[in-house]
């Protein structure tokens, strides 16, 4: 498929652009070389983007059980609210008196999200999850610095954590200490005790964890960390499993980030704007970034103004439309769907942890690969032929040949039944015709991109030949 630049024809134009309503500037004077923008008519542009849509698989196309990513359906009303001109035309430097509505959105969203998280204060500045982690760990750092405690140089991260956790700790200047998981996939308490000490700044934890299991020792874990003088950070990546049922603040966490784009319904996965709202307990509030709501307070700034404001509008719409009853119901169904699908697949592919899961579960294909030669990658690629987005592969690292499935609450029983049938059929096919699966997908527009070449020699910018 040609890039839009390659479809450009000099002089061709369209009437898509609105009339200019600001003073015109002669770019010829300001720029050394002309802007190299593609020149196309409206029809070309329309077809180009439609073709791009047809080559990808989104939540709007079909089942998308990409573990750890919560690819749920996002209600259209959230988009509608975020598109209201009163929100889209607001400027961050507009006089305060003229943006009362937007301020009310931020205040109300903060109030609801604090209630869900069990926190007392919140910032919407962080642009997405990892940025939220960074902000949260900076709260921990400021807290220790403010007390003059310079000995705390280590952040503890379980080996099942998302890769962003150790990266965040390192970015904040901490040494990362890994703690091994117990055989049940949860934090090994003895291993944790062994690494806790006067050099512990804090612990970063996702609960339910990356293998989809709620750590039953969570109160003991946070107590031990506090006893050692450290703080506890909750990675909200898996909040979709527990929202409205249990609050991170009640589990003993001191600060948290929530992926508004994921748990609270903004389309994501394409690198678009997200929001990693960070909440904290009362004693950390003074360390939150300066925000439009807290003028004069705060010592750090992680992003301009109120962050990605329209994502907050979507999140608030989602919260208000689901309400106090709908939010816990969403997570109940997320957990129910995951368990239903796991039980339907069981007997063929093997769950890595054979117990009731939360919102997602991991299949361990290592024995299956030994018997058939068919890898987790082959199964993932074969699923594409059946119109399904593959699950997350080879993650978490503690499970070999892992496939990680998160169906989310917005899928029907019929979709889950169909997915289970596809999995069962592929399991049988691996024994009868493994070569076919090694070569999958057979019906997709793109088969197996050369990932090695893409990683070693990425071409990320178009240049004129």
């Amino acid at each position: 498929m040609k890039l839009i630049f390659e479809k450009s024809v000099p002089g061709r134009h369209s009437s898509i652009l609105p009339a200019c309503d600001v003073p015109e500037v002669d770019l010829g004077v300001k720029r050394e070389e002309p802007l190299n923008l593609p020149e196309l008519c409206e029809n070309d542009v329309s077809r180009h983007y439609t073709q791009l849509c047809q080559r990808v698989h989104g939540v709007n196309c079909g089942f998308y059980p990409l573990g750890s990513c919560t690819m749920k359906y996002n209600p259209r009303i959230d988009e509608e609210m975020a598109a209201l001109p009163g929100f889209t035309n607001v400027h961050p430097l507009a006089p305060k008196a003229s943006v009362k509505g937007s301020e009310a959105v931020l205040e109300l969203a903060a109030k609801y999200l604090c209630e869900i998280a069990g926190m007392d204060g919140m910032t919407f500045q962080p642009a997405a999850g990892a940025h939220g982690e960074f902000t949260g760990v900076l709260l921990i750092k400021q807290y220790h610095d403010a007390r003059g405690d310079k000995a705390r140089t280590k952040i503890i991260v379980p080996d099942s954590a998302h890769g962003t956790n150790p990266a965040t700790a390192a970015m904040c200047g901490y040494d990362v200490v890994n703690v091994a998981s117990a055989p049940n996939g949860c934090v090994d308490l003895e291993a944790l005790k062994a690494v806790l000490g006067p050099d512990t700044a804090g612990l970063m934890l996702t609960n339910p964890n990356t293998v989809g299991i709620f750590d039953e020792n969570i109160l003991e874990i946070t107590r031990l960390v506090h006893e050692a003088g450290g703080l506890c950070y909750y990675d909200g990546a898996n909040l979709n499993a527990v929202m409205g049922h249990v609050r991170p603040g009640d589990m003993g966490f001191d600060c948290i980030h929530m992926n508004l784009h994921k748990t609270f319904a903004t389309p994501h996965g394409g690198g678009g704007p997200g929001a990693g709202a960070v909440g904290c307990k009362e004693f950390l509030k003074g360390f939150l970034p300066k925000s439009v709501l807290m003028e004069g307070e705060g010592s750090i700034q992680v992003r301009g103004f109120a962050g990605n404001f329209l994502v907050v509008v979507r999140a608030l719409t989602y919260l208000m439309t689901l309400g106090k009853e709908g939010i816990p119901e969403a997570s109940t169904n997320a957990v129910l769907n995951a368990n239903y699908l796991m039980q339907k697949i069981k007997g063929t592919f093997t769950p890595a942890f054979d117990r009731v899961c939360m919102h997602e579960f991991v299949l361990d294909l290592s024995e299956f690969k030994k018997e058939t030669g068919v890898s987790a990658l082959d199964v993932a690629k074969s699923l594409i032929d059946h119109g399904m987005h593959p699950p997350t592969m080879y993650f978490p690292l503690i499970v070999h040949e892992a496939l990680m499935l998160e169906p989310t609450e917005t899928e029907s029983k019929e979709t889950l039944d169909e997915a289970a049938e596809i999995f069962r059929a592929l399991y049988a096919q691996a024994y009868s015709d493994p070569d076919y699966m090694h070569a999958a997908p057979h019906h997709a527009q793109i088969g197996r991109p050369d990932e090695v070449k893409a990683a070693r020699n990425p071409i990320v910018r178009w240049t004129e030949a």
Binding site: G163, S366, E367, K370, M393, Y394, F395, L397, H400, E451, V452, A455, R456
Partner: protein, 125 residues
């Protein structure tokens, strides 16, 4: 799978060879097979201290990033910089593509000989 007899191995799938009091370190064929195609390698610098059991660098494959754990404590005296441009050598020639050389070795991980390591890998699957 190849397990050269003249090498010693760790449970983390690094190999080690001693040459005139210098420890030469790489990753085993089993390791490169499990990693898949290696696309980047992060290496220490000459003069860096390494500690037995601690990470001295990492390898990134299409699947994941994995720490390289040092089998010995000592000082890095040579780094195979060819790997920065050609990380695929770890896949094509794991026993030829050494990663670092360490001198002044003061401590060692528990090491296995080729037979013990082969049995260990068979168990790991």
């Amino acid at each position: 799978m190849n397990y050269p007899k003249e090498l010693m191995y760790t449970k983390d799938h690094e190999w080690l060879k001693e040459e005139d009091g210098v420890a030469v370190i790489g990753i085993s064929e089993f390791a490169q097979d499990a990693l898949g195609d290696v696309v980047f390698v992060n290496l220490p610098q000459e003069g860096d201290e390494v500690v037995a059991g601690d990470a001295f660098g990492d390898v990134e494959s299409v699947k994941a990033v994995s720490d390289l754990l040092s089998p010995v404590t000592g000082t890095v005296c040579a780094v195979n910089e060819e790997l920065l441009d050609s990380p695929e050598l770890l896949n094509s020639d794991p026993y030829g593509a050494w990663i670092i050389k360490v001198e002044n070795v003061t401590d060692k991980e528990e090491l296995m000989d080729a037979d013990a390591y082969e049995a260990f890998c068979a168990e790991e699957g």
